[in-house]
């Protein structure tokens, strides 16, 4: 049987994590079909058809798919589900919102947020904020799986030419209305895919002090992250939160500044390749996962760090 991969996109382009999800899907079965649901989303469907791992693209368009409401999306997937052994999408807020609505209608026990495909029915997923890894086997004939994007490589994005089929749209679910979306636009790399992330915590003391983080991030072409404490305190917006209930990041370099390192925060960053912790409390748990720990007052250390970075002839981008 085949795998139906629900593509995440903005009607024009595929979202970056769709490429990770395609890789994961292809490990369940090589016959991967990408489903692009949207409004005027032909460009996104074309981008999906160019992924060499995708064998077919199904495009479903209607005005009521413009805003990605799960209540509208789920019936489209359910209608197509008969032909597939697996239904897959990313475990980000899009997939988390949508997939259980599909799984329940198919009477399938969903496997959430997998980090490894062991076989077509067996997967590894983190539980307890990543403090344990569970190997689980799904006994459902139809499997609904969400994948943790940062645990799978991105697939090739060009060279493919899968056929694009159009399928009929379903009815609109009239009880849910989209009002607005406030996306925070930034010229920085996306938090989920950035090579370097600089994060601030409660130790930053206020939002204004995040300027110190921004200056370092500018220098390193980094995304800016934050602990839940910093977001709760209003220092920075929610889309920056790293952790169990925020985003999971796996950058080459993660610099945690003024973050004590609660297990909920570690859940979102401890797979990073190199971790730096800057904290004035030498006993802070963040040091237990840090490759390089600097016990220092961040208000002295960050300006010094900027100065030292300015001295370097070259910095990797």
């Amino acid at each position: 049987m085949s795998v139906l991969l629900i593509a995440e996109h903005n009607n024009k382009e595929l979202k970056a994590f769709t490429l990770n999800a395609v890789t994961a899907a292809s490990q369940m079965d090589s016959d991967v079909h990408a489903l692009v649901i949207g409004n005027n989303c032909a460009e996104a469907a074309k981008a999906a058809s160019e992924l060499p791992l995708v064998k077919k693209v199904i495009c479903v368009e209607a005005a009521h798919y413009a805003n990605f409401i799960a209540e509208n999306f789920a019936p489209v997937v359910i209608k197509l589900a008969d032909n597939y052994s697996h239904i897959v999408c990313s475990a980000n807020t899009f997939g988390k919102n949508l997939m259980p609505r599909i799984a329940a209608k198919l009477d399938t026990s969903q496997v959430s947020d997998i980090i490894k495909v062991e076989s077509a029915d067996t997967f590894i997923r983190p539980i307890y904020a990543g403090n344990a890894f569970a190997t689980v086997k799904s006994t459902d004939t139809k499997k609904c799986i969400t994948i943790r994007p940062t645990s799978f490589d991105v697939c090739e994005s060009s060279g493919g030419s899968a056929p694009i089929e159009n399928a009929d749209a379903g009815e609109e679910f009239s009880l849910t209305k989209f009002v607005k979306r406030e996306e925070i636009k930034s010229d920085r790399p996306e938090l989920g895919t950035a090579r370097v992330v600089v994060s601030g915590g409660r130790g930053m003391q206020n939002g204004d002090n995040f300027k110190l983080i921004s200056a370092i991030a500018d220098k390193l072409n980094a995304a800016i992250g934050a602990s839940r404490a910093a977001v709760d305190a209003g220092y920075i917006s929610n889309d920056h939160q790293v952790g169990q209930t925020g985003k999971v990041v796996v950058p080459d370099l993660y610099i945690a500044v003024g973050i004590s390192g609660a297990i909920q925060h570690l859940a979102g960053m401890k797979e990073s390749k190199v971790i730096v912790a800057i904290n004035k409390d030498g006993e802070a748990p963040i040091f237990s996962v840090a490759d390089y720990g600097l016990e220092a007052d961040l208000f002295e250390a960050l300006p010094q760090l900027l100065e030292e970075l300015n001295k370097l002839n070259t910095i990797q981008k």
Partner: protein, 249 residues
Amino acid sequence: MKILVAVKRVIDYNVQIRVKEDGSGVVTDNVKMSTNPPDDNAIEEAVKIKESGKATEVVAVTIGEEKAQETVRKALAVGADRGIHIKADGVIEPLAVSKILQKIVDKEKPDLVFMGKQAIDDDCNQTGQMLSALLNWPQATFASKINVKEGKLEVIREIDEGLETIEINTPAIVTCDLRLNEPRYASLPNIMKAKKKPIEQLNASDLGIDITPKIQQIKVEEPPKRKAGIKVSSVAELVQKLKNEAKVI
């Protein structure tokens, strides 16, 4: 308006969990248990809506072993009016939980069902969405602000890109984010009063639904440990190490 709030008993969020040596799960004996944190936000929001005069009753429901009742009792102590405890042992997957909750919704006919967006033990993030699918109700997941209107809710949702506002007709399901509100502590008099509030007990096995797990847990392991790092003495040393040793800048 009646609000049903689903709460789950989990290992306390401050506990560093331990994996059992035989790989069968995590140690739960003699470990501090509490209400799943975002479920506390769900209860708090329901109680606040009742206090504002827009709801008349808040019913807390939980599913689990005998001791799961403590979670309902805590909800009663912070303002829920009555409780329901559906007794069930062992692993109950989100799909089974949502089927049980569907039975309770059929019986109680609430206008709203609230719960946390995710349980911090299995980290599934499924139950609310599944319940709304089974009921064919609107869903507002990851809610960080709820505005109750006539026959409707306006909900601000936390999404990866920022914030999204949707409007949903009631009856509806809302899954709550940690930033929705600040849960109150139960006062001693309210804890005493809660002891007198009714908790109805039902057996999951009497509800006529199959709750056998469909996912086999093969093993549970500790994640690979990071090897111990070093402390550097200065910013200059840090930059030198990142440049020449780790080679990441």
